[in-house]
Symmetry: C2
Subunit: 363 residues, 2 copies
């Protein structure tokens, strides 16, 4: 296991859980699910069960360095990679890749977002181990594909051929295509076909394999980092990264490599997964739904004549009284109260309205 590493990507700035998440405190640093741990902490603890802590790295924005330090105090500074700007996942992975190459060129690395919900941790770890095994024995870029349970239009999909499903029987299968988020009609076809899996954004590969593919499909990006790798692990690292990122395109690893490579493999996974990208998805994943379909994350709460609603308050010592709502979200924080229909379009509209209003400071 010494050669196995994990890179947790924690650079997101999304305002999808606004008003609980903010630009200054994005989702990965919050305990949105009420588990008692932040997403980042959950993700770290999950990998720490199969990897030594010193093999776990976190990539995040410079402005979040303090938060990561606070939430993962056991993590050494050298294990926290600070991006000067967000440039999507390809530059983030390139940074981690060249940093690890300089330390342990024979290594295998898992890359995982820091803000996803995983229901069955044991199943997850089993799949991750299988992915490590596969990546170590094959020149492959392995991804965990989630067996879809509904025609979700907020996720990317990965296709394998149906013949390979028979051939590989639950093990890793060669990927046919990576696809972007489909419309509903297409999503229904995807799910019905049985050939499509949700793209979890979790990858496992040997450093040598991903490096090769990056050099092939993103030669400039690879050269940028490779040319300066002597600066990594030195005092000059931050300056170098600042320059490298300045020239980087904003591009995802999916688009930069996975859609193009012929080395993509998929391990089908059924551990229960959501990227928790919306309040609606949080509501759907909640295990504490009462018999009227309400989820209440408030200590002092009186709910009546209400159904299908999510009520959440992060303000201390506050009584929340709710009556007569149907399919609503009520979110109360220290400085924002939002009462809004639960459907995704409505919540999205609220955040859009906010951005264009005089109250942009609350974002």
């Amino acid at each position: 296991m010494r050669n196995r590493y994990c890179v947790i990507m924690a650079g997101g700035v999304g305002s999808r859980f606004w008003p609980v998440s903010r630009n200054s405190m994005p989702k990965q640093f919050l305990d949105i699910t009420g588990s008692g741990k932040t997403f980042l902490r959950e993700t770290f603890d999950r990998f720490a069960k199969i990897l030594p802590a010193e093999n776990i790295f976190v990539v995040t924005g410079r402005i979040y360095a303090d938060i990561v330090n606070r939430q993962l105090p056991e993590l050494k500074d050298e294990n926290i990679l600070l991006e000067p700007y967000g440039r999507n996942t390809a530059p983030c992975i390139a940074y981690a890749l060249y940093k690890l190459l300089a330390k342990d060129p024979e290594a295998t690395m898992a890359v995982a977002p820091s803000d996803h919900w995983i229901k069955d941790e044991d199943l997850f770890l089993k799949d991750i181990q299988a992915a490590f095994d596969h990546a170590e024995h094959n020149p492959s870029l392995v991804t965990l594909g989630i067996k879809p349970t509904r025609p979700e239009t907020n996720y990317g999909y990965i296709q394998v051929s149906s013949s390979s499903q028979n051939k590989y029987k639950g093990g890793a299968m060669p990927v046919k295509t990576f696809t972007e988020k489909p419309d509903l009609e297409m999503a229904e076809i995807f799910v019905k076909s049985g050939e499509f899996y949700w793209n979890s954004g979790i990858f496992v590969w040997k450093l040598s394999t991903i490096r090769e593919e990056l050099e092939k499909y993103m030669p400039e990006l690879a050269a940028q980092f490779d040319g300066w790798r002597d600066a990594l692990w030195t005092d000059g690292e931050d300056d170098f990264i600042e320059k490298a990122y300045g020239d980087c395109p904003k591009i995802s690893i999916d688009y930069a490599v996975m859609e193009k490579t012929d080395k993509a493999w998929l391990i089908p996974a059924e551990f229960g997964w959501s990227d928790l990208g919306t309040w609606e998805s949080l509501y759907r994943c909640a295990s504490d739904v009462d018999d009227r379909g309400n989820v209440s994350r408030v200590e002092d709460c009186l709910v009546s004549d209400t159904e299908g609603s999510l009520v959440l308050s992060t303000e201390k010592d506050k009584l929340v009284v709710i009556k007569g709502l149907k399919d609503f979200i009520v979110v109360n924080t220290d400085d924002v109260l939002m009462v809004c229909p639960r459907d995704e379009a409505a919540v999205k509209q609220v955040v859009t309205d906010l951005s264009m209003s005089d109250f942009n400071r609350y974002k």
Copy 2:
């Protein structure tokens, strides 16, 4: 004018504007209407236009003494009458009556609740002056009766005979009956008849007249205060009042005297009045309704797809975002958030539920 006094009754403990009003801070001490002044301050200022400040007295609960001092700093301590317990209006009026008798037996006094909304102050003062005039020249208990604009079931009504309406033409008319709150059917008959007025709870009378009627209809109460009146205006006043109130029944002046006396007169009033007993009534009296029927009393507020709703927040530096509500009340304070249909029964139910819940401390 030297002989004219006003007694402002500010002892109410109502939780009708819960969660803004509390047991520790009832409605009369709040600026519920957003006028910039509390009800008590409004009431005081109104009477101060026609009476010298030293002729204005406030009766309130002992626990509210500090609040009254703070809100009416110009009021001398001797002008604040402190009740040890709430005993409804008859004992409150008896206390004020015997206190004034000891000071100025020839006086005329107005009695007014401290927590009513009055739209046209000039008309109100004109009617009060007329009531003073009438009470000074006749042995009458004068009340201001509000010309009803709808069959309200939350108010008591006062009946005059239709013949007296012709006879007295807008001046004071002898009262036929005082009635309790009617049901809707009865209220509709009342309004249609043209003989009924809303009971505003505002009275004007000479001390000698009300004393006589009190002695006649509440002899024990009168004797209780009369026997100990030497203690008034002395250091022994509080002790005496404590004892007197201990023996007092809880009884309104309407029930104790007005329904029985033959000296009741009514001055018809149309200055725009509400006892503001419910959030619904506040909504109805609001002058700042937007074109979708919303009233918003929040500094930072984003309201969309919402109609007929009242949104109010007393918490500082908080953005309130409301979407998709119809005929709702959203009230946010430092320690309570309430989202509830606007109708009176729903709000009442919330407060009842609260009383019986583990969260009674928020009352």
